[in-house]
């Protein structure tokens, strides 16, 4: 049956049909759904790991045992997993191993716009790049064939538009593959003597993979009809934009494998079409390759290094006629994402902002605390950087910073890579105050379980890290737990912990209001006779509260009755139903 599937679901289906038996991943937009969709299959193992490095090593272990395996991550997650990656390129695999990495050009939900193809080149690992959902499914199967035939992990590189666009897919059947595990120190113990012996294998493998890239059909030429006197080399979603713009009128070399790139195929294509344009998002990977093999192409001279492309990008670059449209004169206010009504993070941020505390931030929903009116954050770098950064900040600042600087990090991010920073704080003793925003879930990526929640990816009971015990055991003596709905308590505890001359941790604990088990209370309303329009509640930044005709108004479709605003109002104007 034909079905509409997002690229990530189709990719999960492809991994499943190819017999993938173990997936270990860490969530990250736009990669998360691959693992979530795979978790729906009952006859394969699937897990959330604490971070991408652990996930990749777990996937390798499964491959070593002889099963087909995979790990999935977003582009910045691959930085975390880069350590095992470069050596797994040397060891190769036993059962096939796929590494799914999803880039986010345009940074819809990311802190940078790095191009993961660099990693494929640097680690000498082949990389396939699907351009729609059907290819995502097909390439998953092809990736396992390549992995086992050439003895290498294989990348499948997604991007936001391929990962999150639905297109029609035809499903197939699952076939299982199992290999024997045989001890082989020369292949799997990468101590210098063995690694030196293994490196030539890697280079020879790339040579063979280049031959594969020339002839296997994963890269294909689509002839044009002669309308244009040039040809285009492209891949991924850019291929779709090229076809949308030119249809079948222009000759296209569509690359499905972006590392290693073919040589003869590109030379033959260029010889046939004459002038060649390379259209690729982000960095000039294909363009640089073409120039290295003496094929003259036009790439980044005409197309941006920044952001996502579209058919409009291409039409503009080639000077095609602009489509007629209507432009309005009125300026439309922006509508940025924000913390939800009732979000437990808001209370903590309100207190931090009120006390003008310097806050080193981290990656998650709580990054939204940087937005007006709270403006509560000073930094956001990468997973875990808040904790390690705070330590350095206080070592440099001493008494000048210690008493009014904290960091905030979510429960999942703390498990991912915050705990190592906290160990550094305990070990090298900085007078740092770390706030763990424990909302009992991985929020921003859409509610994934993590080691602190007590549940696994399937929602079944699992091991549970006790944050208080963990902090104590690594040497933090002062560990306090607060309810972020209780602003007075938060303020008191923050002041006390900042004043201490020792490392401390405050766990701000309340579950995400979007969790199914969190039952909303009845919405509040504003008693307009009591409300004097002082706008103190507007400083709280709750999306359910707006200001109309001189009074605060509560949107009862958004309000979940958390009641924090009622505590802020000096005139007791917020009332719950029945009052």
């Amino acid at each position: 049956m034909k079905e509409l599937m997002i690229g990530n679901a189709a990719l999960a289906r492809g991994l499943y049909e190819a017999g993938c038996a173990v997936i270990s991943s860490y969530p990250g937009t736009p990669s998360t759904e691959v693992t979530e969709e795979f978790a729906k299959f009952t006859d394969a193992y699937c897990e959330w790991a604490p971070n991408e490095k652990v996930a990749m090593e777990a996937a390798f272990g499964a491959s070593l045992k002889g099963k087909r395996s995979a790990c999935c991550m977003k582009h910045v997650g691959l930085n975390v997993a880069a350590d095992p990656l470069f050596t797994l390129s040397y060891t190769g695999v036993n059962g096939g191993m796929v590494i799914v990495v999803a880039d986010d050009p345009g940074m819809h939900s990311s802190q940078n716009e790095q191009d993961s193809r660099h990693y494929a080149i640097a680690s000498k690992v082949p990389m396939l790049e699907p351009s729609d959902s059907q290819e995502a499914l097909d390439f998953a199967k092809l990736a396992y064939e390549i992995s086992e035939q050439f003895d290498t992990p294989v990348f499948i590189k997604m991007c936001t538009r391929v990962a999150h666009s639905q297109s029609i897919v035809e499903k197939g059947e699952r076939t299982e593959v199992t290999k024997e595990y045989v001890k082989n120190p020369k292949k799997y113990i990468m101590a210098p003597a063995n690694a030196i012996a293994r490196h030539p294998f890697v280079e020879e493998r790339t040579r063979k993979l280049t031959e594969f890239a020339e002839t296997s059909g994963v890269n294909r030429i689509e002839e044009g009809d002669g309308t244009y006197d040039f040809g285009i080399i492209t891949s991924s979603t850019s291929y779709q934009y090229v076809k949308e713009t030119f249809g079948d009128s222009v000759a296209v070399l569509k690359l499905g494998m972006v590392n290693p790139l073919p040589v003869k195929l590109i030379k033959d294509f260029a010889a046939k079409v004459g002038k060649v344009y390379v259209i690729e998002e982000l960095d000039p990977i294909i363009e640089t390759h073409c120039k290295t093999i003496d094929v003259d192409v036009i790439g980044k001279a005409k197309f941006s290094l920044l952001g996502e492309f579209s058919q409009k990008t291409i039409a503009e670059a080639f000077g095609l006629e602009k489509k007629e449209n209507v432009c309005l004169d009125t300026k439309i206010p922006v509508r940025p994402p924000m913390m939800c009504a009732g979000c437990p993070h808001r209370g903590m941020y309100y207190v931090l902002a009120k006390n003008k505390i310097t806050v080193l931030g981290d990656i998650g929903c709580y990054t939204l605390g940087s937005m007006p009116p709270l403006n509560a954050l000073d930094t956001t770098i990468c997973m875990g950087a808040s904790v390690s950064g705070l330590h350095g900040f206080n070592k440099a600042g001493g008494a000048e910073t210690e008493n009014h600087t904290v960091c905030v990090i979510g429960d999942s991010t703390f498990m991912h890579s915050g705990v190592t920073g906290l160990i550094n704080i305990a070990y090298n003793q900085s007078n740092s105050t770390v706030i763990i925003l424990d909302n009992s879930i991985t929020g921003m990526t859409g509610h994934q379980q993590n080691p602190t929640t007590g549940y696994n990816i399937k929602g079944d009971p699992a091991g549970k890290v006790n944050l208080e015990s963990l902090c104590h055991s690594i040497g933090i003596n002062s560990v306090r737990v607060v309810d972020p709905y209780n602003l007075e308590e938060c303020e008191k505890v923050i002041k006390e912990e900042l004043a201490k001359n020792e490392p401390s941790v405050i766990i701000s604990r309340r579950p995400c209001v979007l969790l199914k088990y969190v039952k909303p209370k009845k919405p509040l309303h504003v008693n307009t006779e009591k409300c004097r329009g002082c706008k103190r509640c507007m400083k709280f930044g709750c999306p359910a509260i707006s200001f109309r005709d001189g009074h605060a108004v509560v949107d009862n479709t958004l309000c979940i009755g958390c009641g924090v605003c009622a505590g802020l109002c000096p005139f007791d104007a917020f009332e719950s139903e029945g009052e």
């Binding site: 999150h164 639905q166 934009y241 432009c327 206010p333 509508r335 949107d555």
Partner: protein, 190 residues
Amino acid sequence: MATKNIMIVGVGGQGSLLASKLLGRLLVDEGLDVKVSEVHGMSQRGGSVVTYVKFGDKVYSPVIEDGEADFIVSFEKIEAARYTAKLKKGGTVIVNTQQIDPMPVIIGSESYPAEILEEMKDKGVHVDAIDALALATEAGSAKACNIVLMGRLAKYFDIPYEKWEAAIEKCVKPNFIDINKKAFSLGYHH
């Protein structure tokens, strides 16, 4: 057939996912090539959200660009305005008249352009405005705005009413089929 382009826009959390699922299901059942594209992640947190639905004999790009949309279905007034540049000449905007203040308006740094639909009409945009929230509430759930708007959209298509209903049955949990069918009908007949 030539590719038709529909945009579904609104505020994160308003239920555009179900609307696009319904359209996708219906169009695949019609034997067409379909692409549906949306961005997950940060945009879900009360931000402006947009879904592209494209269908025809062969669809390539998953996104809709300036001057390409045949329809914009908007769950909120200024969200319709935000994406008007994407509308094709002669295209239609179906808009729920609900006003949801974005954060710059809430904190008073900007004002909500309440008369924006008038400007759109003045500039020749075909605006089909309905109070989808009231109709959804009448159907039994304020959350059914999305299906009220789909009912309104269906008026512009040649696809038989029963096929839309069949698609609703496939996309909605059994307990909510009746409410959604009623919401669809209210949008269609309003």
